[in-house]
Amino acid sequence: MAAAPADAMSQQKPIGGTAMFQVRIHGRGGQGVVSGAELLSVAGFLEGRFAQAFPSFGSERMGTPVIAYCRLDEKEIRLREPVLEPDALIVQDATLLHQVDLFAGLHRGSYILLNSTRSFGELGLSDFTGSFRRARLCTVHATQIAIEHVGRAVPNVPLLGAFAAITGQVRLESVIAAIREKFPHVVAEKNVAAATEAYATVSKLRETADA
């Protein structure tokens, strides 16, 4: 693998991160946290990128805090440490806000995607999120979307649709292709509908905010 010269590499690095895009997903056992990271890695792979997804290796039980990670890069990923400085944080369960140090390692350019019907302000996070770029903060009612389309409170897939909309790191089509690869047909199509609605909802919010 030919490495670029050190100077060129450092110039390409965006502020606060590296060329690699790192995602950390927090949720609870039973919410599909690990599957979410795996699906994201498949979506990245389908776009020709290198991707690595792995769980936080706990003895997960229903309801306990769970973390999973996903890295996306243009070159082979050698790094095996947990994602300590995420470029995007996905929070599948807002009740974790009071239990887990969710925001550890975030930088000002990080995206924060939160599953909630409430805004960051309504959740009392205005002081914290004030220093982040507004366009990179998003709350979406992913559980409701999941219940509506999938029939279960698994917010992982709608959050991936929302992730595609706010970060542009993967296309919605790739998320859909990953879903169809992972799930049997009937379940897959329900999840495709959930991802598509979340994508549309977040894209619409974006347009409204821009207008």
Partner: protein
């Protein structure tokens, strides 16, 4: 074909491509997905001509594997941690009988205290059982090593363990290139056993051997492993010709030619080590790394050639010889006999503690200025240790250590990375 899949799935596919005839296994985290995967393939008919035998324990799993292999079947099993300990007696027997069984170890710590996370304590406990031990750095290499392992095992008539880091590799979704059946068939010929139980031509396997011949049988087991020292690189080259990628071999060196400091490690941590090597090289520090794929046989000469010119060698190991320090370091020092250089042992990643770039960089910088102890425990929480030692000084009935430390630490589940902060 390129696929984004779980490490365990990739290994299951590789094992199936090797056309095993008998698989018997007992599930234990983190290798469970592998045997579930091959089990499904046997049931669906994707893996034809193979019998999957359900057994009641790990001891039974390897015992059945021994019987199947002795009957001339290509045989596979997998285990981890306490499961490997439970089959220990059979592990020695499989090697002593010279049966070419391939077994995956999804590396995991050994209790007590109970811990399901990754380190190398399990396979290291069986390092002298007579099996060849290969350690995979990536999921691609884990897949590839299984294909090489069957050929290696059968050419030598010696069992092979393919060790892959539990969770870090077994549960990671990565890009892997899964070869075609034709490619694997071209590399791995059908099993032609050196010995087989056959009712038409009855023989005994497993005779009692007294003092008059035991040493000779053991010597030949040692000699077999020494032959593997040349066979492992040959198979790695043949594999590269057939499959178009480098996998396996005895050791792999990275930026070592002019390195003053060289880090030696086994398994997946080498990827993180290479990231730190690149970062420090960019800062002008002469550092490199060596990844050991073969731990048994121990590649003394290859290591001496790779390390002998350095000023210092840091051996980073995910296991602990209690009362001594390092297990890998012991062999590395032997390989450098008579050469004057500084040698450091670093115990890291025990029981799944994350090995981070930040900690490694600090460690290698300390090594570069020779400020390291002979044996260092990476990211050791000295406060917790000091507190516990003090408590033990002050009172007699202090209770169990592990529970006392957990109480001191408070809730650890929510912590990012679940390591020492």
């Amino acid at each position: 074909m390129l696929r984004q899949t779980e490490g365990s799935r990739a290994v299951a596919e590789a094992v199936a491509l090797c056309r095993p005839q008998v698989i018997c296994a007992y599930p234990i985290t983190p290798q469970t997905h592998i045997v579930e995967g091959v089990g499904e393939m046997v049931k669906s008919g994707q893996l034809a001509g193979c019998e999957f035998i359900n057994v009641e324990s790990e001891f039974a799993a390897l015992s059945v594997a021994i019987g199947a292999s002795a009957a001339g079947a290509r045989t596979y099993t997998a285990t981890s941690s306490q499961g490997l300990l439970f089959m220990a007696e059979a592990v020695y027997n499989a090697a002593g009988l010279g049966l070419p069984i391939v077994m995956t170890i999804g590396n995991r710590a050994i209790g007590a205290p109970i811990n399901i996370w990754n380190d190398h304590s399990d396979s290291m406990s069986m390092r002298d059982a007579g099996w060849i031990q290969l350690y995979a750095e990536t999921n691609q290499e884990a897949l590839d090593l299984h294909i090489q392992a069957f050929r290696l095992a059968e050419e030598l008539s010696c069992p092979v363990m393919v060790c892959m880091d539990g969770f870090i590799l077994t549960h990671a979704y990565d890009r892997v290139d899964i070869p075609t059946q034709a490619q694997v068939d071209a590399f791995l010929p059908p099993f032609e056993p050196r010995q087989a139980l056959d009712p038409a031509e009855p023989v005994t396997i497993g005779a009692m051997v007294g003092p008059e011949a035991f040493t000779e049988v053991r010597y030949l087991a040692h000699h077999k492993q020494l032959r593997a020292l040349s066979l492992i690189p040959q198979l790695s080259e043949a594999f590269a010709k057939q499959f178009g990628r480098d996998s396996g071999g005895l050791i792999r060196s990275y930026r070592t030619a002019d390195a003053e400091t060289i880090v030696v490690s086994l398994g997946s941590v080498n990827g993180t080590v290479q990231e730190v090597v690149d970062e420090m090289r960019d800062a002008g520090i002469a550092i490199g790394s060596v990844s050991m794929c073969s731990f048994r046989p121990f590649p003394l000469t290859a290591l001496r050639d790779a390390l002998g010119h350095a000023k210092r060698v840091v051996v980073l190991e995910k296991c602990l010889a209690v009362g001594l320090g390092g297990i890998v370091s012991d062999g590395v020092r032997k390989s450098l006999s008579g050469i004057q250089l500084k040698g450091y042992t670093v115990i890291a990643g025990l029981g799944g503690r994350p090995i981070t770039r930040a900690s490694l960089k600090q460690l290698f910088e300390d090594a570069g200025t020779d400020e390291l102890e002979q044996v260092t425990f990476l990211d050791l929480n000295a406060d917790v240790v000091a507190h516990e030692l003090e408590r033990e000084q002050l009172a007699r009935r202090t209770g169990p250590t592990a529970e006392a430390i957990l109480r001191r630490l408070g809730t650890v589940g929510p912590r990012i990375g679940q390591g020492h902060p």
